[in-house]
Amino acid sequence: MSLPALEASSLGKRYQSLWALRECSLSVPEGSVTALVGPNGAGKTTLLHLAVGLSDPSEGTVRVFGDSPREDPARVLPRVGFVAQDHPLYRGFRLEELLKLGAALNPRWDDELARGRLERLGLPLGRKAGALSGGQQAQVALTLALAKRPALLLLDEPVASLDPLARREFLQSLMEAVAEGGLTVVLSSHILADLERVCDHLVILSHSKVQLSGPIDEIMAGHRLLTGVRSEPGAIARMQSVVHESHTERQTTLLVRANGHVYDTRWQVDEVSLEEIVLAYLAQGPPLEEALVAS
């Protein structure tokens, strides 16, 4: 079995007395496209920064293809492409000059790929990066990250500031790159709808902890929506693995982890959409004691 592209083990990061990330354990398989989902302040950016070596862990470890990004940056950095939040670029540089920068700083720079992408996107090389729109800048930042020929691509909320059309183009662009093979992607977002089409793995981060992580199809197979007549809270408490419950005057709806459990016939059992699952986990107030891992 090959090394996971990204592996965190009890990873935690603290800023003075505030834990931005705590007890984070997850494993991103090679070749997957993983969505890192969570509300603002959940720890997504912290996790990505730890993975790329921009900050160092307060506890636990993080490994990229088996190496530590802080202790072994010379090995890790060439294999990881990173686009930070707000896709920073040197605004005074022309695109041509940004490509030169990439070529000078990266041993495996694929200049043809970069130029080809920019041309397909209709971005002239003589234009200054600061003169581009937000969507175009995001595409340029992605191009720079892809031209490095990384094995792992980390994107921190790459489409957050983009309009819907730019968002779709970006994700399509990303998918084309993934389709060429050999790339593992982790992208964070707080907009799930974009990611559903594109990702095959999911990590839910909330209150600085991992609430759920695993392949999307397994997650969907492993959760069910139970609808029934309005029940007592006591009766529900006796049921196992209830992730979320909601009550109307006459009806109770439960989202449960179904591990082959057979439910009382008074419940109507349905499949759940990914969005509902994610919202249910995010709606859970205080963090769970243990991270629930689907696989």
Partner: protein, 302 residues
């Protein structure tokens, strides 16, 4: 931009400097090489020269800002990198952060040193004739020669870099850095420098020989005093009758009234010692700031 600044400074100083150098060579040099008591003719030649050129460089005190400006100019791009977040782009290419910072810092400090070298050489050359006559211990001369200019620039660069790393705001770092630099510079110059070593104090009777080379030292206090060296208020009031008359009469009169001369000064021989102390202070502060920045970058910045 630093080159433009230096060119501007050079443009104002070089013509005067050339003029001064040629005037010096034309007769003053010969006098300057002799001791003070070499003759009345020399005294007036030197006096004329000084009178003419002493204040020939009105912009010189303003040049004290230059090391601070170098700090601001050369460290600004790094601070901009931190403010705009482009350091996250730079540190996630394939070059390690350590290598990136090392090269960046070498470039910053290297340019700073080159600019300071140009400034120091310009000022040292310009002051050549005046240094022979008046020495280089006095403020506004001491600050531009020897090794202290380099120490000032190192400190200014470290200060702006540290502020940039802590605040990640360019305006705050540049303005704050310049202000803090100048405040410290002036404070040390005004309050600390004269105490680096206990000044020499000499009391002598009018008419007898005073300390040699007083011209080239840093005069902290000179004038009439009592026998113990305490300065007297206004000698005109105490011994009004002494001032008129020929010189040796004046001297005898002053002696009769127990009026002495006192000079408190830092001798020219201490130039390199003081340079070393002052440079040590500023470089030491610079190193502390850089270490603090390095620690902050490593542990707090993401």
């Amino acid at each position: 931009m630093a080159a433009a600044l230096l060119a501007l400074v050079a443009a104002t100083l070089v013509p005067v400097g050339l003029h001064m150098a040629s005037a010096y060579d034309n007769g003053v040099a010969a006098c300057g090489a002799h001791t003070a008591a070499s003759g009345a003719g020399c005294g007036s030649i030197v006096g004329d020269f000084l009178h003419r050129f002493e204040h020939a460089g009105p912009i010189v005190p303003w040049l004290n800002f230059l090391p601070g400006l170098f700090g601001v100019l050369f460290a600004a791009p790094l601070v901009l990198d931190l403010e705009h977040g482009t350091f996250r782009l730079a540190w996630t290419q394939s070059v390690t952060r350590r290598r990136w910072l090392t090269i960046k810092l070498l470039a910053i400090f290297g340019s700073g040193m080159v600019a300071t070298l140009a400034l120091t050489m310009l000022m040292t050359w310009w002051r050549g004739p005046l240094d022979h006559l008046q020495g280089r211990m006095e403020p506004n001369v001491f600050d531009f020669e020897g090794i202290v200019p380099y120490a000032y620039t190192v400190f200014a660069l470290s200060l702006v870099i540290a502020l940039g790393v802590f605040t990640r705001r360019m305006i705050v770092s540049l303005a704050g850095g310049l202000l803090a630099f100048f405040t410290l510079r002036i404070s040390i110059q005004t309050f600390a420098r004269e105490h680096f070593l206990q000044p020499v104090k000499v009391v002598w009777s009018p008419g007898t020989a005073g300390p040699a080379n007083l011209d080239r030292s840093w005069n902290l206090l000179s004038g009439p005093s009592d026998a113990h060296g305490h300065p007297l208020p206004s000698p005109n009031q105490i011994v009004p009758g002494c001032i008129t008359g020929p010189k040796d009469q004046i001297e005898r009169c002053l002696r009769a009234h127990h009026v002495f001369n006192v000079a408190v000064y830092q001798p020219a021989s201490r130039f390199w010692l003081f340079q070393g102390i002052e440079a040590g202070i500023f470089v030491g502060l610079g190193v502390v700031l850089l270490l603090a920045s390095a620690w902050w970058l490593k542990h707090r910045l993401a």
